[in-house]
């Protein structure tokens, strides 16, 4: 077959390397031009409306109050401090939410796998109902329940002695003063004892084959030691029990209606998803693993501990992490029920200063940092735990 001389243009165009570079240049140019267009418009609009740019506003006085805060804050403090309070509020509800959602979700996930038909069915109903109703709606519901349906402080409900539920919030007893330090010290000591015990029992088993009930002993110690330490301290045996004085309670720990509604809503909603993650993780371990372990003679408890849970955890951890991220992001819904989280504080800030762009950048920056940090940790853990295959 004769070959016609190929024009240079076609030769160049058909070269894959050239095409690669060409497409990339086009893409980058398009994105670049687009961004430049948006940015120039923005700058023009901002100056036309006399809105300042930059982050200097952070040093100015905030001038607005924040409903609840872990740091000392007054309206005379700077915007920067206000934002820190908001961030801490977000972290506070996120961390506590993660802990409780994990506990509740794991219980419900295991319940779904139970041999007891009633328990399994109830758990299924919980999961299906909670997963299919929007979180915002659930938050509105809980907030309405607490703020409108609960009675006033004088007729507060008291399901457990010392705990009072009213439409001004939840009051729970706390430990007075030093008592907390003694409790913490006791807990710390018991943790050390448990670690030493576990190590000793492991070595003894390796040498003599005898098995020591570490788990049960540890559970006992972790509960008993702090209490013993507290009692020994004698310093503050009293609980600070909320007492009705006038129109409201004094003493004890207060959970505002907003915080309580947000926490309850987040935990109940996310626990349904966590339950599904746990259930599918345990189910992912094939029946053959249960059978082989049973055929060797292992009991159900040991099978779970040595064979099923280690394999199930590998499947559970990635989606569980994404649920943790979801709780953190979903806590931003606080703005709808008036809990002063980061988004809520930034919202107020940008309404006052008019600097919307900086405000939104702060929000997105904060959440991005948390998300990326958790992703990095998760990827590292995943790589370490991956089953070794050829």
């Amino acid at each position: 077959m004769s070959s016609r001389p190929v024009p240079l243009v076609l030769k160049v165009w058909n070269d894959p390397k050239f095409r690669a570079i060409f497409y990339q240049v086009v893409a980058v140019t398009l994105v670049g031009v687009g961004l430049w267009y948006l940015i120039s418009n923005t700058l023009h609009n901002l100056s036309a409306r006399n809105i300042a740019t930059g982050f200097d506003f952070l040093g100015r006085e905030a001038g607005f109050a924040i409903g609840e805060s872990s740091l000392a804050y007054t309206p005379a403090d700077t915007y920067a401090r206000a934002l820190s309070v908001g961030l801490l509020n977000t972290l506070r509800v996120a961390v506590i939410g993660i802990v409780f959602a994990t506990l509740l979700g794991t219980l419900i996930g295991i319940a779904r796998l139970s041999g007891n038909w009633l328990i399994a069915k109830l758990a299924s109903i919980y999961v299906e109902v909670m997963r299919n109703i929007p979180l915002l709606l659930q938050l509105f519901f809980w907030y309405a329940l607490i703020a409108e349906t609960l009675p006033g402080p004088r007729q507060a409900l008291s399901p457990i002695a010392g705990v009072f539920l009213s439409n001004r919030g939840f009051k729970i007893p706390t430990v007075e003063g030093d008592g907390l330090t003694w409790l913490a010290a006791g807990f710390f000591i018991s943790v050390v004892i448990v670690l030493v015990l576990a190590n000793w029992s492991r070595r003894r088993q390796a040498q003599t084959g005898q098995i020591f009930p570490v788990f049960k002993t540890a559970a006992l110690l972790l509960i008993a030691c702090p209490l013993v330490a507290w009692w020994l301290s004698g310093s503050a045996l009293a609980l600070e029990i909320p007492a009705l004085k006038g129109f409201n309670f004094q003493g004890g720990l207060t959970l505002s209606p907003e915080f309580a509604a947000l926490l309850i809503g987040l935990v109940i909603y996310t626990a349904a998803f966590v339950a599904e993650v746990v259930r599918s993780g345990i189910e992912s371990v094939g029946k053959g693993q249960w059978e082989a372990a049973g055929a060797i003679g292992l009991r159900r408890g040991l099978i779970l501990r040595l064979i099923v849970l280690p394999q199930a955890l590998r499947v559970i951890i990635p989606p569980m992490t994404s649920q943790y991220l979801n709780i953190t992001k979903n806590s931003s819904l606080a703005v709808a029920i008036g809990y002063p989280d980061l988004v809520s504080v930034v919202n107020t800030t940008l309404n006052q200063t008019g600097q919307a762009i900086e405000g939104i950048m702060i929000i997105m920056g904060a959440y991005l940092t948390v998300s990326l940090a958790i992703s990095v940790i998760m990827n590292w853990y995943n790589a370490r735990m991956a089953l070794v295959e050829r």
Binding site: G115, E128, N132, L137, V335, A356, M364
Partner: protein
Amino acid sequence: MSEPTPAPTIHAPATSNPTPLVWVKTQLFSTPANALLTILSVWLLIMAVPALLDWVFLQAKYSAQSGQECREVEGACWAFIAEKHRLILFGTYPYEQQWRPLVSIFLLVALVLLSAWRKLWNIWLFPIWIVGLSVVALLMWGGVLGLTYVENTLWGGLPLTLILATFGVALAFPLGVVLALGRRSELPAIKIICVVYIELIRGVPLISLLFMSSVMLPLFLPEGLTIDKLLRALIAIVLFAAAYVAETVRGGLQAISKGQYEGADSLGLSYWQKTRLIILPQALKIVIAPLVGIFISLFKDTSLVVIIGIFDLTLAAKAALTDPAWQGFSMEVYVFIAAIYFIFCYSMSKYSQALEKRLAVGQQH
């Protein structure tokens, strides 16, 4: 050895076809721990269910003239819902024209149901969606064919929620597919752009995107060009959903064995032909169930537009509560719209589970 004589017919023992008593014993009381749990649950149910039934049905008031009448009753005030249902369901759409959002609701539901029909999983799905969505837009806006023009600030309630969800998914889907293909591209510049977009959007809450689009979008555009509020919300939803669609489709692309790519290459197909004819059809089939999951999430997430003041179903509920004549019936309203959301989401979720089972049968491992 000779054949053994045929065994006499032996009947299955009780445990194969358990009588109710045996079932209760094995399912509910098999171990002491189980027995305890059963007793506890039954006790809880006895405490909760009759009170609930009382509130919902038995002591509820189904029709009343005013809030005062309802407050005298212990049960739920469904009369409130009867009174306000048009507001909740249709928002502030002009009263006489409310047949239009009603028809739109049915059209959108029909569109989703049609997409569930497996016989339609081919190229015809795209024109059907385009036509369907255009008809809905036409009906809602009006201004042609003798229909009066209704500004979209008057739209609200269930049709708005459905519109945001369906238009959102319809627009996010092609964008997400492009992003997924881009992320798997071997051209570093394109890959980086797609990765940055996806990770950025997935790392931030939807609220921040809604704020961004409602507050910042006007700043991004030259003076004189405005985008109305609904469109801004829609843009934020589309950008958000596209990132999640991209990740899901990427999973599908990864699941296709290398042999498929090689087979297509060896036939001499170009990149776009290979993607369009071989890779995407298979990838999309694999990820249909997770994509339905994204649609369900999106449907729930539309409730967030409340925060930028768009009148979706959730905000309509709150609006109904502001009537001074009917105060204090938040429970009834929230339960009502929770039921609506639940019906939609649960049916979609059941469909997705059934779909997964059916498709898994077809795929041999």
